[in-house]
């Protein structure tokens, strides 16, 4: 089952383009004009559709509510956050929780650490994954097959199993409590995923492209750099988003490998619980500040993210 090779029913609609594998072109196929000869699974009858919309609305409310409640809570006064019985909306809207949370020592520094760690890890992950994935997909050697298997198996390793030896290795190398050490640890998570994603993107690039380039006198490395990489730049962007998110949201390695200097925000959020008693107000405010940029990023780049998310699994 290969999405990129699917042709669409609509005449003239493009088949999967290499840079953005075909998840959204595929969604186009079931599209028919309203009321006219709906095809496949799309419901036609008016009453059925109305019922389905009601169902969807209910699901969306249930699904969206928890995060909205977090947002509402972050605007309550600190005392109201733990009022019994709780209210959904703040009785009084205030930014007190935000000033409390962001004013606490170490919180702003943790944001800097999170950004720094995620960027280093993303760059490292791409620098290693792009050539490796190209080597695997273009030359189909035995070593490549073994390698991608091994990379996939790494994805199954429980982080807690390697976290502790990895932390002591880093300490031995004099890298304890540094963003470098943590971003290396995060790369162990994102690298297998990046290799997997990039392989799928390279798979969609027609071979003739670099053959033409090599005939024109380009070296293989030159063809990769100047011809292939520009074509898969969309795929590289998707992979970068995933590598970034993997590091941004990671907690266990950050907990094991950082102390004060390089602590990332997820660890700080978790620490609110123990260090300062149950300071729910500040916790919710900090959680909101930490999550909103990535949620906005998702909404902005949703097509690319959907493509990346489904690529690995649907392509068999």
């Amino acid at each position: 089952m290969r999405l990129a090779e699917r042709t669409t029913h609509d005449a003239g609609a493009p088949a999967g383009v290499p840079a953005e594998p075909a998840v959204h072109t595929a969604t186009r196929t079931t599209h028919r004009r309203r009321g006219v000869n709906r095809e496949g699974l799309e419901a036609g009858r008016r009453s059925t559709r109305a019922l389905l919309w009601v169902l969807l609305a209910a699901a969306m409310v249930l699904y969206g509510f928890p995060f909205l409640y977090l947002l509402f809570t972050s605007f309550k006064t600190p005392i109201d956050t733990i009022a019994v019985p709780p209210t959904i909306l703040p009785r009084e809207w205030t930014l007190e929780n935000y000033t409390n949370a962001l004013g606490r020592s170490g919180v702003l520094a943790s944001f800097v650490n999170s950004v720094q760690t995620a960027i280093i890890s993303t760059v490292l992950s791409l620098a290693l994954a792009v050539p490796a994935a190209y080597g695997i997909t273009r030359y189909k050697t035995l070593s490549g097959r073994i390698f991608i298997m091994a990379a996939l198996v790494t994805r199954m390793v429980p982080p807690v199993a390697i976290g502790i030896p990895l932390a002591s290795m880093m300490a031995g190398a004099g890298l304890a409590d540094t963003p470098i050490a943590l971003s290396i640890a995060h790369t162990t998570i994102s690298l297998p995923l990046s290799i997997w994603l990039m392989s799928s993107f390279f798979e969609a690039v027609p071979r003739d492209l670099e053959e033409a380039a090599t005939v024109d006198g380009c070296s293989r490395l030159g063809a990769l750099w100047r011809v292939v990489i520009p074509v898969v730049s969309g795929g590289i962007a998707v992979t970068a988003i995933f590598a970034f998110l993997a590091s941004w949201n990671e907690f266990l390695f950050a907990l094991l490998m950082t102390a004060i200097r390089s602590q990332t925000t997820p660890v700080v959020i978790a620490n609110f619980q123990t260090q300062f008693g149950l300071d729910w107000g500040s916790m919710t405010a900090l959680a909101a500040v930490y999550s909103i940029p990535v949620i906005l990023l998702t909404l902005l780049l949703q097509r690319k993210i959907v493509a990346g998310m489904t690529l690995g699994a649907v392509k068999g």
């Binding site: 733990i82 097959r145 390793v157 162990t188 907690f251 959020i269 649907v314």
Partner: protein
């Protein structure tokens, strides 16, 4: 001189392979090696070779066996619910067609939220006294008292309560993957079955699910492995409590290492956990994925 394609491919893969060897394979080797020693938690403390003693201790400990069963139960609950809900949503989005596209995007938002934040959020919803869920159920007249269900304090149900954030976070993933799979089912096939008089249940169980089998298999394996490694959400909600009732394998290993200061025993548990995961992964990868095969 031009090197052969095979060498060139190897050259491209070497940096990534070295990275994984140094930062994944070597720590794993250390983990396995440590499992044969009795290690003092103090840095530079004594290290005595004890053979398989740590393994015997692991199997003899109720905590380890309990955590194994709990991890299994947790994984099954998470994956089953996620799959059912994700399939339901994917079918809903498919039957509504293109007009529901924007909602599909909105539905995706939990995927970007850090598990630690999700755990915190649900803890806040389920916590005794000022948790909103108990209060709402009480106000709706379903519960006689807001604290009637101790979501996170009743050892009998806590394992299922701590699974909720995990389910909430990744049902979107299931939905996305299944939705993409559904788009691949030829419309003519559904049309033909409809003309033959197939009703919705028959359509679902006789046509859709069998056709989705490969997608379903991959999605279940990916999510199953993630669920079996769950750590963040449980740690922040209950820290494994009450009475270890929500202590899964990751938490037990972490606590054995950090809190109880027994790296040898923790390494033995980690090794066994790893072997179990690899066994599952191996079966899954070799039967379903077959990556790198020629098209």
């Amino acid at each position: 001189m031009r090197i052969s394609d095979r060498r060139f491919a190897l050259f491209l893969m070497t940096p990534a392979a070295l990275f994984l060897a140094v930062f994944v394979a070597f720590p794993l080797f250390r983990l396995v090696a440590d499992s044969f020693f009795k290690i003092s938690p103090i840095a530079g403390g004594p290290r005595d070779f004890v053979g398989l003693d740590n393994y015997f201790r692991a199997f003899a400990s109720e905590a380890f066996i309990g955590a194994g069963w709990r991890t299994l139960a947790y994984t099954l609950v998470v994956v089953t619910l996620e799959f059912t809900l994700g399939l339901g949503m994917a079918l809903l989005f498919t039957t509504l067609g293109r007009s529901s596209q924007i909602w599909r995007t909105v539905f995706m938002y939990p995927l970007m939220i850090a598990p630690i934040v999700a755990g915190l959020l649900w803890k806040f919803l389920m916590i005794d006294n000022f948790g909103l869920i108990g209060t709402l159920l009480h106000q709706a007249g379903i519960l006689s008292n807001p604290n009637q269900i101790g979501w996170l304090s009743d050892p009998d149900i806590v394992l299922y309560s701590v699974a909720i954030p995990d389910i909430w976070l990744t049902t979107s993933f299931m939905c996305l993957v299944l939705f993409a799979g559904l788009q691949n089912i030829p419309g003519d096939l559904i049309e033909a079955a409809r003309l033959d008089g197939a009703r919705a249940p028959a359509l679902l169980f006789r046509i859709i699910l069998p056709l989705l089998r490969p997608v379903i298999a991959v999605a279940l394996v990916v999510r199953g492995i993630d669920a079996a490694r769950a750590f963040d959400t449980i740690l922040i909600q209950t820290n494994g409590g009450p009475q270890s009732a929500s202590e899964t394998m990751s938490l037990l290993i972490y606590r054995t290492m950090i809190r109880f200061g027994d790296p040898g025993l923790a390494s033995a548990m980690g090794t066994l956990y790893l072997l179990a995961m690899l066994a599952v992964a191996f079966v899954a990868v070799s039967t379903i994925w077959r990556p790198g095969k020629d098209s």
